[in-house]
Each structure stands twice: as C-alpha cells, then as structure tokens.
C-alpha cells in the first residue's frame, strides 16, 4: 500500500486512491513519450539501456518494468506525467536525514518497477502496469507549481521506482529547478551509469534502498543484482551527489552480523564514513507475510556493528521515539538534530557545523 500515515492529500491534485483494476482517468496518448536510453535492433526489436537488465523487447511488448513499450521499433515510456500517487511528506519520511531537515517534499510516483522485491510495501503500484492503476495527468510544470503552492521545498520521486519513470523525473526536476524547487530521488539504484550520470546533474539528493549486501538476496528476493547497485552508489558519491542509504532488515534473510559488517566496511571504504545508513524495520507485506517484523534487538545489533566499523551516522528507522533517530555529532557526541518519528524537535547546527564543538556535519543544511 502507499504510505498512509501522516499523508496529506494534495488539494491541487485530486487523485483517486490507487485502486487496482481501474482505468486511467485520462487518455493514454498524453502519457506517452519516446523513451531515453535505448538501442534499436534489427527487425524492430529494441534493447533498453536504462537499467542493468537490458531487456530486449519485441514490437508491441514491454520491458520487465511494464511501463516502457516497443511500438513499431521505437521505444516509449507510457508513464510521463501519469501520477498514481501524490502526497506531501516530511523529508524525514524518505528518509533523508541530512537534507534540509523539517522541510516538506511533494512526493509522486507512477506505476512500475524494474525489480520485484518480495517485501515490497507498495506492490499495488510498483508491480502493476500503468493502465491497471488509477492515475492523473500531472505535467512537470504543474507539479513544480503544486510544490510551491503547498510550501514544499522539494519534489520527491518515490513510492514505486523512479528509474522507470526517468523521463518524467528528469523533466520535472528541470521544471522544479526553474521554479526554485529541489528534487530528491528514492530509488533501488538499479540503473545504468550513463542515465545515472545525467540524473545527478538534475537532482539534489538520492536515497538508495540497498536491499541487502549479498547477491543471493538480490537474486532470490529482489529479482535483481547487487553489483550494479553498488556501482551506482560509488558513482553518485564521485559525482558529488548527497546520498543516504536505507537497509531494510528482513528477519532471517539479510540480518546476519557478517552481512552488516560487510556492508559497513564497504560503505567506509567505497563511500566514506559520512554517508548515513538507516537500518529500518521490516513489516510483513506482499510475498513475505510469513515473516515477523524485525525485532528491535536485531536493528540495534546492526547499528552496533556499523558504529563499530566507524560509520558516523547510523540510524534506526520505523521505530518512532528511538534515540537512534537523532543525529549525533561524531566529535562531541551531542545531539545536533533531534527527531521524533518524522518530526524535528530541534536542530543544533550553525552553517552545517555542530553548535557545541563546530565539527562539520555532513549533509545539505539550511542556514
């Protein structure tokens, strides 16, 4: 299901709830644009070059994502401006903890995804085709205007998988930038290097859902691959993109100490100790309803392992009120951003530095 807690429906964008089995509210033609990043092959086949899957697609067929279609040897996205979920969320909900805390993000999604995680929380929009979910036409300029009208500092591309609505995301990021609105991306990071490089020139922060630190999990639970995601994370950092990582801890499947340690060491060596890592609690959903929610002790164990490896900003998620929601200065260890759930109770920073010891706190801060 799309997020339901604390959501505020846009007054300016009257979306129907994401009802399955419904029909697009508007005509299909307005959502169709030629896709970026593909190669034309013989006999009107095409090869998609957007994500590492590189689907080879026959005429009238779609890729794994279900939202890009070969029509007569030309590849089209079917979801440009085809928004099936739109909410105003605190930026902390993405979660981005080191990016303008306390601000709002106008958060949008289209149908579709380029993986099929068994624990997906939003499967009823991510694992369907665009025509199978109600949607509304929300072109980039209107989206940017809606963000301004609703006092949102940013547009967040989220809920499903924004890589698969790349063209809409890119156009909206441009429209947002022209209107003084920033863009943040919530993604699985399963994307090829060239589109990623171009995206990093358009958006301001990316949160990556690193689903596990093992190829086995990626193959069996995600239907994807780990290596391209790690390569994408490295590329984001090299391109100077503000990046945070979420690791959803799934009981029995990716919750071993060795995996936590491997992840923390990799982050330290390849990305740096200042990249925030959020260990978040799993709730039984979709195809993993047989597993229990993540025990708090498991999350705390993950944090302890990552802390011991020297990461500066390790958080716990989906455990409102836990002290590990706060940001602590890595030098004096005092709280510099105090949080309660998605609320900010206090920011004790001055120009991005700890107000107590002047230690620089990595992130993108206001004032």
């Amino acid at each position: 299901m799309p997020p339901t807690d604390r959501r505020v429906f846009l007054r300016t964008v009257a979306l129907a709830a994401c009802a399955r089995g419904g029909f697009a509210a508007e005509s299909d033609a307005q959502f169709v644009r030629e896709a970026s990043f593909y190669e034309k092959l013989a006999y009107k086949k095409i090869k998609c070059k957007l994500c590492p899957r590189e689907c080879v697609i026959d005429e009238r067929e779609r890729g794994y994502c279900g939202v890009r279609e070969n029509r007569g040897g030309t590849y089209y996205t079917l979801v440009h401006s085809r928004v099936c979920a739109a909410h105003i969320d605190p930026i902390e909900k993405k979660p981005l903890f080191h990016f303008h805390p306390g601000t709002l993000a106008l958060s949008v999604a289209t149908a579709g995804c380029n993986v099929n995680c068994k624990m997906c929380q939003n499967w009823d929009i991510s694992q369907v085709r665009p025509e199978q979910v109600r949607a509304t036409y929300l072109p980039p300029a209107t989206l940017a205007s809606a963000a301004r009208a609703n006092q949102c500092d940013s547009i967040a591309y989220t809920y499903s998988e924004p890589v698969i609505f790349y063209e809409y995301m890119a156009d909206s990021a441009r429209a947002g930038r022209a209107a003084g609105i920033q863009s943040v991306v919530v993604t699985g990071g399963y994307i090829q290097q060239e589109p990623l490089k171009q995206l990093c020139g358009l958006v301001d922060a990316i949160k990556v859902d690193l689903k596990a630190f093992s190829q086995k999990f990626y193959k069996e639970v995600v239907n994807g691959e780990l290596k391209p995601v790690l390569e994408a994370l490295v590329a984001m950092r090299k391109l100077g993109m503000w990046t945070e990582i979420v690791y959803l801890v799934v009981p029995t499947l990716n919750d071993g100490d060795a995996e936590f340690k491997g992840l923390a060491r990799w982050v330290r060596s390849e990305l740096g100790v200042d990249v925030p890592v959020h260990f978040t609690r799993f709730h039984p959903e979709y195809l993993l309803k047989n597993l229990p929610p993540t025990p708090l002790q498991t999350l705390e164990r993950a944090k302890a392992v990552a802390d011991a490896e020297g990461l500066h900003y390790v958080y716990l998620g989906n455990v409102p009120g836990h002290p590990a929601e706060n940001t602590y200065c890595p030098k004096c260890h005092r709280v510099v951003v105090k949080r309660e759930g998605f609320s900010i109770d206090g920011v004790f920073l001055k120009k991005g530095k700890c107000q107590y010891c002047q230690q620089e706190i990595a992130g993108v801060w206001k004032g």
Binding site: D58, G66, R129
Partner: protein, 278 residues
C-alpha cells in the same frame, strides 16, 4: 492433423472427436462445456494479424459450441487488451446479450494476489468471474526469450504482470503461472492454431520466418501439446538452417518443469504422448 482452406471446420471436428474419443462431432463438443456454462476462448493476439489466433478458427469453434448447446451469450473471446484483439481482426463486443469479445484492460483484474511457487499475480476477472470453462487457443510459434510460446505460455494473458516472468527463459515462471488455481481448474482444452506457424523471430509477426503448417494441434494436456509443438518448430528450424533453440540459449525448459513432480500439469515424455495425425 492438417487443414487446408475450407476444410477447417471438418478438421476441427475430427481433432476434437479424437481428443474426446467420440464417434460424433457434436457429442465431442458437448464434452467441452456443460449446459449453462460460460466458455472463454483465450486467444493469443499480441502479434496482430499474421501470427495471432486466426479469426476463422475462432468463428468455427464458436459455431460448434453453439451447435453443442452453448448460447452465443455464454461465449467470451478474450485476451490481454482490446487493442490486441482488434489488431488481430476481432471485434470488441462487451454487452447486448450476444457473443462477447473483450480485453482484460476492460474487464479488469481481481484485487487479491494468487500465488504458486515463483508466481504471484492478479488474475483477469474474465477468467475468475465470467468463465466456467476455458478453451486455450495459442499459436504455434517461436519466442525470442522463452523459446516457444503455445498452450502453457498463452495463460500469461490471464495475469496482470506477465512482464515479470520472462527471466531465466521463463523457467519456472511459465509452469508456476499455469498452476494458479483458476487456470488449472478452468482450462479444459487447448487448440493450437498451427495453420500458419513461425519458427524464428517470435512472438512478433515476422513473415520471413513463418510457414504454412496447415495444422491444428489439439490436446487436453498442455504440456504434451507444447512438447509436440516445440519439436515441430525444432524440425523446421533445422530444415531452414537455424540453430536448435538450446544453442541459442532459448531451450524451453519450462515444459519439463511443467511435467515435473512439483507441477504435474501434463507429460513431456514422448513415450507417453499418443500422437494421432489426422
């Protein structure tokens, strides 16, 4: 069996008689559906005219069903999309007490997932709510990802997310999707349209690789049908100088999976397939 031109109806009768072991064609057709049942005809129209289930074949089946006591209003021709059906030459008809013809995009999908093994899908309401019985009407053709597409693969048209199940040459996805209970329970007969078949370049229509097989392959066992069709395609590929599907990385392993002890959808053992050419 083989067909030629106007012999289609006669050929259809003989094959269905053969499958149901009846002396009389009408008696055989009465075995397909009981009085009062709604019969779905699951065609395969992705490729448009040329490599889709042919309209004359479907018309012939509709004619025989009606003669066997199934009124037109209880016959539903269906596939994924209205556009696909129209591109193959079918006329959309959703109401009026007549024979219906519609895509899942109009009929919609159930709200709850059904699962088997690797497959988890929402099923077409046409399958779950409208039809009591289904006649599966695939086309004999090559498939660029999963090797071949016939009876088993045609039921991808009953689920909302077929794009998720082409990885690993469709194995075990094709077999797992066929195991979803409403599919297993309702599909009673498969009639594979092999009048014009395609040995390379599928599932799109590629006229340079089609040939007039002039046949129908009819079976109540979709695995046996797919195995038989696969061998026909391999023979044609060899005749035309194409590599076996195995050498192209497209051996349809899902056929064996569908026959394994975990699925038992049918048999792929040539020694157990009673192939009767009429």
């Amino acid at each position: 069996m083989r067909t030629s031109g106007s012999a289609l109806l006669k050929a259809l009768d003989r094959t269905v008689q053969g499958v149901y072991d009846r002396d009389n064609a009408l008696e055989a057709w009465k075995r397909v559906a009981r009085p009062g049942e709604v019969v779905g005809l699951k065609v395969n129209c992705l490729a448009g005219r040329g490599a889709s289930t042919s309209v004359p074949l479907v018309e012939a089946i509709c004619e025989r069903l009606q003669q066997a006591g199934v009124p037109a209003r209880n016959i539903v021709i269906w596939d994924r999309l209205n556009d696909d059906l129209e591109s193959a030459g079918f006329r959309i008809q959703t109401s009026g007490g007549r024979l219906r013809c519609l895509g899942n995009d109009v009929a919609g999908y159930e709200g709850d997932l059904v699962e088997h093994g690797s497959a988890a899908s929402l099923l077409s309401k046409t399958l779950t709510q409208t039809c009591d019985a289904v006649i599966n009407l695939p086309v004999l053709k090559d498939h660029g990802i999963v090797g071949v597409t016939m009876a088993l693969k045609n039921l991808f048209g009953a689920i909302h997310n077929p794009n998720k199940y082409h990885s690993d040459v469709g194995d075990p996805y094709v077999a797992d999707v066929y195991m979803l209970p409403p599919i297993r329970q309702k599909v009673r007969l498969a009639i594979c349209d092999a009048i014009t078949a395609q040995y390379e370049g599928g599932p799109s229509y590629m006229p340079q690789w089609d040939w007039s097989y002039n046949g129908l392959i009819v079976s109540r066992d979709p695995v046996a049908l797919d195995y038989t069709g696969w061998q026909i395609i391999e023979r044609k590929r060899a005749e035309k100088g194409h590599k076996p599907l195995k050498e192209t990385g497209r051996q349809p392993k899902y056929i064996a999976t569908a026959a394994d002890p975990a699925h038992r959808i049918g048999t792929n053992d040539p020694a157990r397939i009673d192939r009767v050419e009429l």
